[in-house]
């Protein structure tokens, strides 16, 4: 049985790959997420990378504990850093964040998305030096579990 963190990351990947956004998204989870620049070509689908970052544990009642899992979703594609190039990708980032909050239940995990925060609308360094759009969404997923 995989760790709950892994289950949640996998469920997020499935959710992103099954959803319909304003442009195609290809999601994957990764422990060592380094995308090669050629893989982010403007002719390919937008890459979404799901990375597990943290887990918190707190009592939520006499016999209930609350686990909050934090993950990051990176959105990337090569594009010119202009209104025409980046605006559609900023829109996509908002669509992904909204989608995760609008449909919070993550099937098969017992978890619910309680927060999706866009940490970086775009990274100026990537825009300037790599002509690449990179945005980051931090997602918090809460799971309640019984206490022995």
């Amino acid at each position: 049985m995989p760790a709950k963190s892994v289950e949640i990351a996998a469920a997020l990947v499935t959710r992103l790959n099954e959803a319909t956004f304003s442009q195609p998204v290809q999601a994957a989870r990764d422990y060592s997420p380094a995308r090669a620049l050629p893989d982010l070509a403007s002719t390919q689908a937008v890459k979404a990378t799901v990375v597990m970052t943290a887990r918190a544990d707190a009592p939520a009642g006499r016999k209930v504990r609350e686990n909050e899992y934090t993950l990051q979703v990176g959105i990337q594609k090569r594009a010119e850093p202009t209104d025409a190039g980046f605006d559609p990708l900023v829109l996509l980032t908002e669509e992904v964040a909204d989608h995760l909050v609008d449909y919070p239940a993550l099937a098969g995990t017992g978890g619910r998305v309680v927060r999706a925060e866009v940490l970086a609308v775009y990274l100026p360094d990537d825009a300037d030096e790599l002509r690449t759009f990179s945005s980051v969404i931090e997602v918090a997923v809460r799971v309640l579990r019984g206490q022995p």
């Binding site: 997420p33 380094a34 995308r35 090669a36 620049l37 050629p38 982010l40 070509a41 990378t49 799901v50 990375v51 970052t53 990051q72 979703v73 990176g74 959105i75 990337q76 090569r78 940490l119 970086a120 990274l123 360094d125 990537d126 300037d128 030096e129 790599l130 002509r131 690449t132 990179s134 945005s135 980051v136």
Partner: protein
């Protein structure tokens, strides 16, 4: 008496082109020119502010005789978005003219402006 250093730079440019260069195709939009260029080392780099959006890429600098960069009948200087294609082992590697952060995309490579150094990053294979 002529400038020995200028003569030396010209000689060196010729030697570099003749003995230490590869044939590449330099393109801008729909126009291109086949010329000989010398590639520098290709150090691998990683961005790293957030783990989820790490990008792996390599810089490649090309040294080109300034007089050979002729597109559409005119001698030009590199611009962002221009591409250089080099065939290695039957694979075409595509490099895009992109500057390191805060730097111009090209500069003269010698005091006499015989050679130019163009900054690129590999962006694809064909």
């Amino acid at each position: 008496m002529g400038d020995l250093f200028e003569a030396g730079a010209t000689w060196l440019a010729g030697q570099l082109k003749q003995h230490a260069s590869q044939e590449v195709t330099y393109s801008r939009g729909g126009d291109s020119v086949v010329l000989r260029a010398t590639a520098g080392p290709q150090p691998l780099r990683l961005t790293g502010q957030y783990g989820a959006v790490t990008v792996e890429w390599s810089n490649t600098d090309w040294v080109i005789p300034a007089a050979d960069l002729v597109i559409g009948g005119q001698q030009v200087t590199p611009q962002p978005g221009d591409t250089i294609r080099r065939v290695m082992g039957g694979v075409v590697y595509v490099f895009e003219v992109l500057a390191p952060r805060g730097e111009p995309v090209w500069r003269h490579s010698d005091a006499h402006r015989a050679m130019i150094r163009v900054h690129t990053k590999q962006v694809g294979v064909e």
